[in-house]
């Protein structure tokens, strides 16, 4: 068990212990769940899903593109800026590459100079 512990400088975990205890707890809950009523008596409409009083159609499901709506709405200023920057022109992307690379190089040089 001890051999299976994965360690870094500041943390550790044992995947084997995790899996073993997760399965153990799942078994306990499975037994607990077995005390509940297992099934239901089928009847008309009982297992149907409704949306505003009508049986829900495929069209009434949430689209994958809307999945993160609230997040995009909250981050609108950021996404507006990012969308504006994405011009689709290769020269602009190259320019961004040069700017970011030069910034990183500056930080790196300053760091090296400080340690030296």
């Amino acid at each position: 068990m001890t051999l299976a512990i994965l360690k870094t400088a500041s943390g550790f975990w044992n995947p084997l212990a995790f899996v073993a205890f997760f399965i153990g707890v799942c078994i306990i809950i499975f037994i607990l769940r077995a005390f509940g009523k297992k099934d239901f008596k089928p009847s008309k409409y009982k297992a149907d899903v409704f949306f505003s009083g009508n049986i829900a159609s495929e069209a009434s499901r949430v689209k994958a593109s809307d999945l993160f709506w609230g997040f995009f709405e909250a981050m609108k200023p950021y996404y507006n800026l990012i969308t504006k920057i994405h011009t689709g022109i290769i020269n602009d992307y190259a320019l961004w590459y040069v700017i970011v690379a030069s910034l990183l190089l500056t930080v790196l040089t300053l760091g090296v100079l400080q340690w030296a």
Partner: protein, 332 residues
């Protein structure tokens, strides 16, 4: 062999205690919120009665759902929520699996119950459940930023003050309470981190003002709408357990002291005193960040909640981190 049996018995004791305490706290929370709103409210044992009733109700599975996923997710949600108590200090005792997992693992475990809830909701093929699941995921993406800053602040500080120790280990975190590692402005930083963690609490356990994934009056319980019978019972238990687990995490991070250390009691009395002290601390956390807030606020919209967590609470946590950093600079 004896060791395995002992660990198994200890685990069963911890998860049973956690389950019972969670439901009891849930009942207390409902009662207190009702009293604050001038209602009589349900009896404190109402969650137990609800679970008992749900176990004798029909377990309806929607016709167009992915059945195995729909049935499996409540089990996964409750199992991962209960597993948290084996990795965290609980009821005044050190964690059973202290040597097998740290704070990072606990944070990941905290993500599983809401994620399982969202997957189960998507599997139900209900539009209301899908909207609830979508909101749950958005909310999760928003508050996880804050929690990561809180955890980084702890680890960063401990890596300075106790180099060589595992900064994410609960053993280290409880041995060196964060308040003792900082002075002046650093204490203000820790207080800001505490406020940020408390602000995340309602969203983490889907309570007002951040119960947008369920939103009874808008989307008819959202993620829970298609669940019934024993599946719903498991999900309600998972939510109650998660609330106690998050309160226990805040206690373990910010208030890890045990009262027996100050009173020099004999071992059995020390155990009881620490247990009672843990209950008091956990209740205080729940009262401050769940009960008071839930009784006094209305539900936020999903984009409002995301904005509050991404900008304001995140900034608050960043200020906390910055103040702790400033304190370290002043010490150096």
């Amino acid at each position: 062999m004896f060791n395995i049996l002992h660990v198994a018995a200890h685990s069963i004791f911890i998860i049973t205690l956690a389950l019972l305490l969670s439901l009891l706290f849930n009942g207390l929370e409902r009662k207190l919120i009702a009293r604050m709103q001038a209602r009589i409210g349900p009896p404190i044992i109402q969650p137990f009665l609800d679970i008992k009733k749900l176990f004798i109700k029909e377990n309806i599975v929607p016709a167009n759902s992915i059945k195995w996923l729909f049935n499996a997710m409540p089990l996964v949600a409750l199992a991962s929520a209960l597993l948290l108590f084996l990795y965290m200090p609980f009821a005044g005792m050190p964690p059973l699996l202290q040597a097998h997992g740290d704070l990072i693992l606990v944070l990941y475990l905290f993500i599983i119950p809401p994620l399982a809830l969202a997957i189960g909701a998507f599997a139900s093929a209900s539009p209301y459940a899908s909207i609830g699941a979508q909101r749950e995921i958005v909310l999760m993406m928003s508050y996880e930023f804050v929690l990561s800053v809180v955890v980084i602040a702890f680890a960063w500080l401990l890596s300075f003050s106790h180099a060589g120790a595992y900064a994410f280990s609960f053993d280290t975190l409880t041995a060196y309470p964060i308040w003792n590692l900082v002075d002046g402005i650093g204490k203000l930083g820790v207080a800001l981190l505490l406020v940020s963690a408390l602000a995340v609490f309602p969203a983490k356990v889907a309570k007002l003002p951040a119960d947008i994934s369920e939103a009874k009056t808008e989307i008819a319980e959202g993620v829970l709408v298609e669940y019934s019978g024993r599946n719903l019972a498991l999900l309600l238990m998972a939510q109650a357990v998660q609330a106690l687990a998050f309160a226990s995490l805040i206690v373990a991070l910010f208030f890890p002291w045990n009262i027996s250390a100050f009173l020099a009691l004999p071992s059995i009395f020390a155990l009881i005193a620490d247990f009672i002290f843990f209950l008091v601390k956990t209740f205080a956390i729940m009262f401050a960040s769940l009960i008071l807030v839930s009784a006094a606020t209305a539900r936020l919209k999903v984009d409002q909640a995301a904005r509050i967590y991404i900008y304001y609470v995140f900034l608050l946590a960043l200020f906390g981190l910055a103040f702790i950093g400033l304190d370290r600079l002043l010490v150096m």
